[in-house]
Symmetry: D2
Subunit: 344 residues, 4 copies
């Protein structure tokens, strides 16, 4: 089987680099196009971008010429978008209109009614809205938009999925977020060394609205949000990668901690075997002091969410890799789902 | 006026050193006795202890001879206790029986019915229980026990005080605690560098029970706990000093964030002018990203609690210096209150 | 005595804020003018700058209107310059030509032959070159340029001063520098958390040339550089404030460690009593594991350099506060010297 | 081929865990015995040790019963020793006398004349001294002692090897060492967060004497040390793993930086294909700001040393993983060499 041609929009930034890392040896996708801002276009990738990851930049990618974020210059069946949200606003629909599948990590279209906001293990059936999206927007070349959630949202929404059967009524979440979530230049060291910053612009608004859409139901025409409230307090801590979250969930059925733990252990998203889906999407840790970002963020190649300290309340702590499961890896898993569903 | 003779129990440890720092130039107290374990007793303080604070160890204190934790060896009107809780269990009553006032930072007697658990700005009237304590225990030499709260408790209980009038019903608190709270050897660097540890042994139990006693009322015979539930999730972060806490408070009267902010601004504990009581016990920060431990922990010489991000929910973030307001400084403020009330 | 009017050039940046902090309650200087780039000029200081220090921004300074970096807009007898070096290149001489004393923290004029590069404890006699500077440049209004060294230079050059008598032949220095040396946005947290960066652009060149000028002699016409070689390796470490340096010094007389220690203990710069000169410019630490930035950087209000581990080689470790003794505090001490010498 | 039976002495500690990690899927060795102190002996490994590594503890190893550090209880052809140096002093020869090969990471026997101190890429020919060792000590069952260097020594001694041809005369090294080098409880977070500690007990003595033995020559009877002096300054920094070192080398032939770089690039230890020998023992980085511990410590699965900033002086910066190349990985590579040389 020929590989599917994949492009990255915003290829030089922190998430763009994670996209390259995740796609460079992917069994289904072939990285054919790297697009970035005018400043970078025309340059070799190794000149346009300063590679910031521990892995080595592959030599063939270093040599690729960066192109503009323009469907005419990008040769791809699917584009992965790490664009700033204002640029994504116009660029992503342009790619969809030109016949491209768009797997976006940007917030611009997440909450738009006809765009699926996906965690494959939670709501793959929302993909059926794509047909409605294409009709409504008059996209006749097969292009469409898909999105993945905010990096803080995904870590607690995934463990909420198996708790839906208990009747979730309300959720409180306090996050302790890694600096990599803000991009390479996002958090100055003078701001965060030995410190906590109790504010992340725009974060709480996303965290408080995205889960209800993700855990909502598609009625054949639209997504009906799940009916519970989320209230969040978001904080930055001196951690490189891995968002840790303290979560309280009130549920109609008042399950015991043991019942909650069992529901998480039993959680089987029945996704089948996608190349990057982890053996266990949810890992339940029984040690008193886990999960911890340094020890647990790379479980399932960074695609597992680890949950621990399930106790009365119901309270628990969850943690996952914010730039893998919470960003580039999420879009790539979405794309694999698109292939499996025959949408690509 | 002659100074009051003060001793420190557990003088060589981290909190003991903070006691020395807080007492060495105190206008009312004179440091007359340093007591520690057998291993240290008989040695010069500078040989028994490794001084860990940024301030210099005063030369006269360096020369003092450490004595045993024994009322016969300690020459003091009041002792400040930083003993491990099992040792405190027997040693503190022995000092009280011998006629000594005890201001303890240890958890052993905090929740015992006849022992006041004090935040002077919140419940100084609880001191009246001392008479009952002395009668019940048969202490006839004027000795008694007082305690201050756990370092995490005090940071959010102080801001709850002015909210009592709105009818507090329940509290959720997620803490991000500094490493100094665990003592000098408490948290290995390999455990916490670039990491979050979502568990602190015994902490949540204290945090969930102490506030109701502190904010309770003394009916002339006993303290009647305030009637609300606290549920906590406690985490260690790579911060040296300063506990940051995200707090949710449900209240009967459903006040607006502006009303809550105003109540905090108006909070006047009417403590009068104690030597270490800060000009403002509660500081309200209106910047979006405050309070932060690195920038705000030393407000009021480490005795103020800073509150910010008061928003619907009601949610807010509070922060204070855990080894000053949360430990040694709290006991010293208690002692000043004892003097003012004529109990010393 | 009326206070001397002082302005700050580059008042909104990290060093500019340290200048404000050092001048706001200075006994000799009155802060009359805050100058910054066009973007800031015309705004209130509190709007133009985001205050980043632990101390509170004084209310009266918050209200001052920022002006342009232009001698016509700045009302001052002396200006303290924290300008970027390219701007300093033209702005500083313009202020000198207009009759202003300039105390610069910028590198632009440090190595220029007729400009003194000062550590008051080391070479205050170099100030006599100012007369030559004024003549040569035709500055007839009493203005002139003075500079202080790079923040890494000063920490090891000060302890070298008392060793000059042993005949210094060569110096090796390896620095472990704090992030604040690069300015607030200078070092992203993703670059330095749990990491060492073994390169600081342009730093080694400064460190290898400035000490010889500082420790040189003024022969009445020019400064004759001291005759030794410095070779440096500069590294950034995850420390907020305080540059630590490992130093090797080869000397003609081959002094023992005890002789070196004694020379440092005996070091008396005979500066007299300037408002910010520390009681001891050099502090010798005899503990095996000192100096340490966290514990020792604030000695002498940040103006002392601490030295320890003096051992055969001769090797030692020195450390000082890079944004106080190494930047703003250095310029202010220079200005105090100017007053004392009657140059202001 | 049947696998060789391997035991770990000191299996519960930090280096012991790295040994288990390195041996659990090794193609040549089979982990047959885990020995530790009396406190642990008799327990299941998962009960005796708290696993601290990011990798998962393999289930079969978790179930193994820990035995005493006693040749009678340990069933192995080779033992890897991570014992404290005082215990190693008696235990290691006991194992050798009992017929066991000993690959020790401990310092006890490194500088003993008849014990090889190995970096396989530098001095595998020193292994010939084993025969002399066995004769001298009367070990007739085939047992013997081998050692690997201190973790700081190996990082700069490996890059010195290809420079030997230029006539090394003297070496200065300033280290910036990771906390993991001190073991899990070794460095309290209160000691190192945002700090530098300019002292590591006993480290400089090792660093100043081991390289000359490693780079010495075996004359058929004894090892003749290389003739150059090393002078070291060792510092701890807030880094988890990876020792960074600034090195100055004076050489008789005065090579240019380009010649030094080429010698390092050309370095071919001709070790052949050992299971854990990295493709390149020395990696030369040409970027201005490399090597960095966070980005480069895992090169060659933690077995490569990265060198950069080769400049006049000759100065360079080198860096490697201190608990892999600098500890457990070094002993395992030694053991692979023993197999290849027919000694096992």
């Amino acid at each position: 089987m020929a590989k599917i041609k994949a492009g990255v929009l915003g290829a030089t930034g922190a998430v763009g680099q994670r996209f390259i890392e995740g796609l460079k040896e992917h069994p289904w996708f072939e990285l054919t196009s790297l697009a970035a801002s005018e400043r970078s276009a025309g340059k070799k990738y190794s000149e346009a971008a300063r590679w910031r990851l521990e892995s080595e930049l592959p030599a063939d990618i270093a040599e690729m010429t960066v192109v503009n974020v323009d469907p005419k210059e990008v040769d791809a069946d699917i584009v992965f978008s790490a664009l700033p949200s204002d640029e994504a606003k116009t660029a992503e629909p342009a790619f969809a209109a030109a016949g491209c599948a768009v797997a976006s990590n940007t917030s611009s279209y997440r909450m738009v009614a006809d765009v699926p906001l996906l965690i494959p293990e939670c709501n793959h059936e929302h993909l059926d809205i794509i047909k409605i999206q294409q009709e409504k927007r008059g996209w006749e070349n097969g292009g469409y938009l898909t999105t993945n959630p905010n990096c803080t949202t995904v870590m607690f929404t995934l463990p909420l999925k198996p708790l839906m059967k208990f009747g979730i009524q309300s959720v409180h979440v306090a996050s302790m977020q890694a600096v990599s979530g803000a991009g390479y230049e996002g958090v100055p060291s003078m701001a965060i060394l030995g410190n906590v910053i109790p504010y992340i612009g725009g974060e709480e608004e996303k965290v408080e609205t995205e889960p209800q859409k993700i855990l909502g139901t598609f009625d054949g025409e639209k997504i009906i949000n799940a009916d519970f409230a989320v209230t969040a307090s978001c904080h930055r801590v001196p951690v490189m990668d891995g968002h840790t979250e303290a979560v309280w969930v009130t549920m109609r059925d008042n399950p015991t901690p043991a019942e909650v733990r069992q529901a998480m252990l039993d959680f089987d998203p029945k996704l089948g075997d996608l190349p990057t889906s982890p053996k266990k999407a949810l890992i339940v840790k029984d040690e008193a002091d886990r999960p911890q970002p340094r020890l647990d963020r790379n479980r399932g190649n960074g695609m597992s969410v680890s949950v621990g300290r399930i106790r009365s309340g119901i309270r628990f702590v969850c943690m996952g890799h914010n730039t893998v499961r919470g960003a580039a890896g999420a879009s790539i898993l979405n794309a694999e789902l698109l292939v499996k569903k025959g949408l690509l």
